[in-house]
């Protein structure tokens, strides 16, 4: 049985590199994140709830804060079931919803100098290095569709969107990087 991602690892090398990151495990937890029982339940399996708009790495991937009642767990695609089961066990008996939504999304990696500028053409987000850096995840929109992104390092972002619009998101990222009007050296305002 072969599983495939939405664009099967499409890639474009322009002013920045845009590539589909392939299959990515994602598990959504909906719960009252302020409830002590939820905090404790996660703590028992060694997980801390990230702060508002934060994403933190774990042994198996990462945890991202999505909303006051929502976390996203990132892991290998074939491990999503395990993460789901682990969370189920840790939060048993509580009012929570845990769902493997790996296949509902597509993920991209964009990389290169000027990558902030490429995203700033599409997302109404302050991407100045003083305002946005590694460790933060932002749910926003890219042009006309919902999306979220976070930085891997200084010159690389991960972007997630709904699977059905993967082609659109690839196209607008590609276009934004192709027409990029990169400023000279100056690390200034975006």
């Amino acid at each position: 049985m072969s599983s495939v991602s939405a664009l099967q690892d499409a890639r474009f090398d322009g002013a920045v590199t845009v590539e589909e990151a392939g299959l990515q495990g994602m598990v959504t937890l909906k719960a009252d994140l302020s409830a002590q029982s939820v905090v404790d339940g996660l703590k028992r399996i060694g997980l801390n709830i990230p702060g508002q708009r934060q994403i933190v790495e774990t042994d198996t991937g990462a945890i991202a804060w999505m909303a006051p009642d929502e976390l996203l767990f990132l892991c290998d695609h074939d491990k999503a079931g395990d993460v789901e089961a682990q969370l189920d066990a840790a939060l048993q008996g509580q009012h929570v919803l845990i769902v493997n939504i790996s296949d509902a999304r597509a993920m991209f990696r964009i990389e290169g100098k000027g990558v902030r500028e490429v995203l700033a053409k599409l997302a109404p987000v302050d991407l100045h290095p003083d305002s946005f850096g590694p460790g933060e995840i932002r749910r926003t929109r890219l042009a006309q569709v919902p999306a979220a992104f976070w930085m891997q390092d200084d010159d690389a972002f991960n972007v997630i969107c709904f699977r059905s619009v993967a082609r659109y998101v690839f196209d607008i990222l590609f276009k934004a990087s192709e027409t990029s009007y990169l400023r000279q050296a100056k690390q200034g305002v975006l």
């Binding site: 493997n100 569709v145 699977r163 619009v165």
Partner: protein, 1008 residues
């Protein structure tokens, strides 16, 4: 005539010639020229024809305020009309075309309008709406359409690309003159994130031309130094050719950057629209010189005084050998000096002010002019300009008189100045208020009433000439104090930057709204206020006479200020003229509303990346590529694209649909149903939440079972329908219509978050996590068993409306035994990543059963044959479930559900509501979609009485005849009755009212 001077021109590079064409004629300019300066350098002063009277027009200004010199630039996909020659820089190979002339610029037939101008007075357009009625359509409209207008709309598809850019800054500064530069320096030094934008291709605004000293340097040198310093600040971004076009609520602003309009190389984005969020905005937008209203002020060769010296200083271009100056202020004397220094003649300066009016401490400009040997006439003005296509002379009169001609003077250009108006547009866009300065005769920003942000504080501050500070020392002082105020409000330290500017004493201007002040009707009819829209002093006076008092009404009645220049030159003169006509003070009349954009911005820049394939996001299922590979005919369903049918070689759509339906009914059909909405609803309160969402009882549904349900909004109207599966006691899987998932999910969250916030329910839209395939037809079970299933698919183990999860042919499957076709049918969901492989596997294994992919039309036909309703066909937002005979799906036992109370309203229970029936044409043909059942007579509005309408209509391949569903008055009680349906051709079609279930009414086929 105009020509290039031997020397001078600080913006041009004489070593770099640029060839371009004007109306097909080859001309040469230099790098740095605008189209206007290059045309003038080539002796071309006639640049266009006016909007209404087709009067010959030359360039009047040197900047963004230009009303006359509008051109079509470029060709084909790069063509753009109405571009101002004063801001369009030339480049090698540029093609420019003049506008609004026929057959040629020099000889224009439409100029006849000018001769009959008394027939085209103010409000002419509106007056044509009045009687006689047929005249509008047959006489006025065709004539107006042909003769009025500016540029032509482009015919070719726009070949350029555009982009947006989101920027977040502490301070946005609009305008890169000395005030903007000074404010940027202070803000930059204080560490603020600054974006400084300037619409022109150079910094410093007017100052390098007008001169003066700042910080002990020549102003032009100070500007260079300031730009250098700003470029070295990492926290400051500065942009040329970038206009702050509008200011909106809460510090939002748009800036329009023209990236390639000045380049021969058009690659890359043409325009970039900066979408800026600023904590504070400083508008340092300068001021615009006002024309004077004298007879013939629109003749080519009459120009703003500031423009005349700009062309000399910036481009080394003289507008004429003999230039008469007419002014109400000292500033125009600078033009006289510039002309004189260029070695050309100023026959006379006509100064509307009198010596008696002069305060003793001023008057240095007059004296200087006289010392240079220039004749200065005080208290004088122009009675009339002579010349048609170009100025040949002027007649001098007393400003105080009625226009008696004292003397004629030959000249080939006139430089006029009626004073300066601060550019208050940006300040005003979001509600900043204005004050009237009686002495300077100008509106300026009222700093106590700025545009207000969310916190009740002003978010725009204005600086320099835009704030009414016209002299260099006042400008610098004002810029410093503005920057200081803003920085302090942002909690930043203000350091240094106290630039000192040299002193200048000037004699205040005199407000002159008409020249001469007692001009008679004959002269007033030749005094232009709005050059682009051909509005004259006499038009505004006529409007006042006809009862127009409000400046906004007068604007629309006369079209004053309604052209592409939005009245940059005409605004103040127009409303002062109105004020005089009404015997009011100028501030009592007030200004019209300033609206963004400051000057027109391209449609492309607004669209940004949203064009072509990216115009709108297209949603694709995991099987989308297969559909495309089969050359399926696709149709939009929400943002999805779904196959309508899969025509084989040469097959018509109708034939393809027929084949798909029959193959499915006879053996096996496969449908990509991935677009079906899937929402998980979970929690201890999920059962009662589901009972509120649906009209029928959902809490009684057993885990492992499915139930069809109807969802209404609070007004009782049917909103969505679908099958609900109960996964466990606390968890439901809601299936919505394709394209209805987001809306339904929003509806759920709305009620959960706003009304039932204490209910313990989580929802999650998982539509895209699953690929869903409907496997339909008598051979369905054979196919699935062949694939190898660990789920028992027998009728006993998995009965109709049951579901089971497990491995199917190696796939992680969720099998729902539901049917929208009346056939034995399984809807199987697999993870989206496995969707395509599963689809392929079904086709491979199904080949022996003639497995046939079918599209949405076959889906629709098969559901219609079974009498199943479709949201959006049988419903349109005004239909309740009871209209559709779905009373069986409305629980009588529940206390409440969304829509219950609304459905009890008198109109909803009216027995006369149209109700769902089946319709069979008597001759077997297909009823037209949307056709009405015709009754007898007419209603109170004189319309034909109707008693029903068609909601769905198809040719049924199964029954080989036309079938339809419709809503008919008293329909279910009229079985067997024949109705008449209308068609667009006028013929009528007869159809009998029948049961809407046309096929297998007992449901024997699906229950095997």
């Amino acid at each position: 005539m105009s020509t290039r001077l031997t020397n001078g021109g600080r913006l041009i590079d004489r070593r770099q010639p640029r060839e371009f064409t004007f109306n097909g004629k080859r001309m040469t300019g230099f790098a740095g020229d605008t189209l206007a300066s290059a045309l003038l350098a080539n002796g071309q002063t006639l640049m266009g024809r006016s909007f209404k009277y087709h009067r010959p027009r030359g360039v009047m200004a040197s900047g963004a305020e230009e009303p006359n010199a509008l051109f079509g630039i470029g060709t084909e996909g790069h063509f753009e009309p109405n571009q101002r020659a004063t801001t369009q820089e030339i480049f090698e190979g540029m093609q420019a075309e003049s506008q609004n002339h026929w057959p040629s610029l020099d000889f224009d037939v439409g100029a006849i309008n000018s001769k009959v101008s008394r027939l085209l007075p103010a409000g002419f357009y509106y007056k044509t709406f009045m009687a006689p009625r047929p005249f509008w359509k047959h006489v006025f409209e065709p004539i107006i359409r042909r003769s009025a207008g500016l540029g032509k709309a482009p015919k070719a598809r726009d070949a350029d690309q555009y982009e947006h850019f989101y920027a977040f800054v502490d301070i946005l500064i609009a305008g890169g003159g000395i005030a903007g530069l000074q404010a940027a320096l202070m803000a930059g030094e204080a560490g603020a994130r600054v974006l400084l934008v300037e619409q022109l291709p150079y910094w410093g605004g007017r100052t390098p031309v007008d001169g003066g000293e700042i910080d002990g340097m020549l102003a032009a040198d100070w500007v260079k130094d300031a730009v250098q310093r700003l470029e070295n600040m990492p926290n400051v971004e500065i942009r040329l050719r970038c206009m702050a076009s509008g200011i909106y609520d809460h510090g939002y602003a748009l800036a329009y950057e023209r990236l390639t309009d000045h380049c021969a190389d058009k690659s890359g984005s043409r325009h970039k629209l900066w979408r800026v969020r600023a904590k504070h905005i400083i508008t340092a937008t300068g001021a615009i010189e006002r024309p004077l209203s004298f007879a013939g002020n629109d003749v080519p060769g009459v120009m703003l005084a500031s423009a005349v010296r700009d062309y000399i200083a910036d481009y080394g271009v003289s507008v004429g050998d003999r230039v008469v100056i007419v002014t109400t202020n000292d500033d125009a004397y600078r033009t006289a000096f510039a002309i004189h220094e260029a070695g050309l003649a100023v026959p006379v300066i006509l100064d509307a002010r009198t010596d008696q009016e002069r305060p003793p401490e001023v008057g240095g400009f007059v004296t200087k002019a006289r010392h240079m040997g220039i004749r200065v006439e005080m208290g004088k003005g122009i009675a009339r300009v002579k010349g048609g296509k170009h100025v040949t002379g002027i007649e001098i009169c007393d400003q105080a008189g009625e226009g008696h001609v004292l003397e004629e003077i030959a000249c080939d250009a006139v430089a006029m100045s009626g004073g300066w108006s601060p550019v208050v547009h940006l300040w005003s866009h979001c509600g900043g208020k204005l004050l009237w300065d009686e002495e300077e005769a100008m509106f300026y920003p009222d700093e106590t009433r700025p545009p207000i942000s969310h916190d009740g504080k002003g978010f725009v501050t204005t600086a320099g000439s835009a704030n009414g500070k016209l002299l260099i020392r006042a400008v610098m002082k004002d810029a410093q104090s503005a920057a200081k105020t803003v920085l302090e409000a942002l909690g930043m330290d203000v350091a240094g930057g106290a630039a000192e500017a040299g002193p200048f004493n000037e004699w205040m201007p005199k407000p002159v709204w008409m020249m001469p002040q007692g001009a008679g009707k004959d002269l007033r009819q030749k005094m232009w206020l709005d050059f682009q829209n051909d509005v004259k002093v006499s038009d505004v006076q006529l409007a006042a006479q006809e009862g127009y008092e409000s400046v906004e009404h007068t604007k629309r009645y006369t079209t004053l200020g309604m052209a592409t220049d939005q009245g940059k030159l005409s605004n103040i003169n127009g409303l002062a003229t109105l004020a005089n006509a009404l015997n009011e003070e100028v501030p009592a009349v007030g200004t019209t509303t300033f609206r963004p954009p400051y000057t027109p911005i391209s449609m492309g820049s607004i669209a940004g990346e949203a064009r072509g394939d990216m115009f709108q996001p297209i949603r694709r299922t995991p099987i989308h590529e297969w559909h495309e590979s089969q050359e399926a005919y696709m149709e939009p369903v929400g943002h999805w694209r779904r196959p309508y049918c899969y025509p084989k070689d040469g097959e018509s759509h109708a034939d393809a649909v027929k084949r798909e339906v029959l193959a499915t009914r006879e053996s096996l059909g496969l449908l990509d149903a991935s677009t079906l909405g899937k929402i998980i609803v979970k929690g201890p309160d999920a059962p009662r939440f589901m009972d509120m969402l649906y009209t029928n009882m959902m809490s009684s549904l057993k885990p492992g079972r499915c139930r069809y349900g109807l969802m209404c909004n609070e007004n009782g109207f049917l909103m969505d329908d679908g099958v609900v599966a109960r996964l466990d006691d606390e968890t439901f899987l809601v299936h919505t219509t394709s394209g209805g998932a987001e809306h339904t999910h929003g509806h759920m969250e709305d009620w959960l978050q706003c009304e039932w916030w204490d209910w313990k329910v989580h929802t999650l839209n998982v539509t895209e996590a699953w690929a869903q395939i409907a496997v339909v037809g008598p051979n369905t079970r054979n196919l699935l068993e062949k694939l190898g299933s660990e789920i028992d698919l027998s009728a006993e183990a998995l009965p109709f409306m049951g579901f089971a999860f497990g491995k199917l042919g190696g796939f992680d499957a969720r099998v729902f035994r539901i049917s929208f076709s009346g056939e034995l049918s399984f809807e199987i969901a697999v993870p989206a990543s496995q969707g395509r492989a599963f689809w392929d596997a079904l086709h491979e294994a199904g080949a022996e059963f003639n497995a046939t992919a079918y599209g949405t039309e076959a889906l629709h036909i098969m559901r219609a044959e079974k009498g199943f309703i479709m949201i959006g066909d049988e419903t349109d937002g005004t239909v309740i479930p009871q209209d559709l005979g779905l009373d069986w799906a409305i629980s009588k036992k529940k206390d409440d559900y969304l829509g219950k109370r609304a459905q009890a309203r008198s109109h909803m229970v009216d027995p006369n509501r149209w109700k769902l029936v089946g319709l069979e044409t008597v001759d077997g043909s297909v009823l037209p979609d949307g056709s009405y059942a015709i009754g007898d007579g007419v209603n109170e509005n004189g319309q034909r009485v109707t008693e029903g309408r068609v909601t769905s209509t198809y040719h049924s391949p199964t029954l080989n005849r036309g079938i339809a569903m419709g809503l008919v008055k008293h329909g279910p009680n009229r079985m067997g009755e024949v109705l008449r349906f209308n068609t667009t051709s006028g013929a009528e079609i007869q159809a009998e009212i029948v049961n809407p279930v046309f096929f297998d009414p007992e449901g024997e086929k699906q229950n095997v």
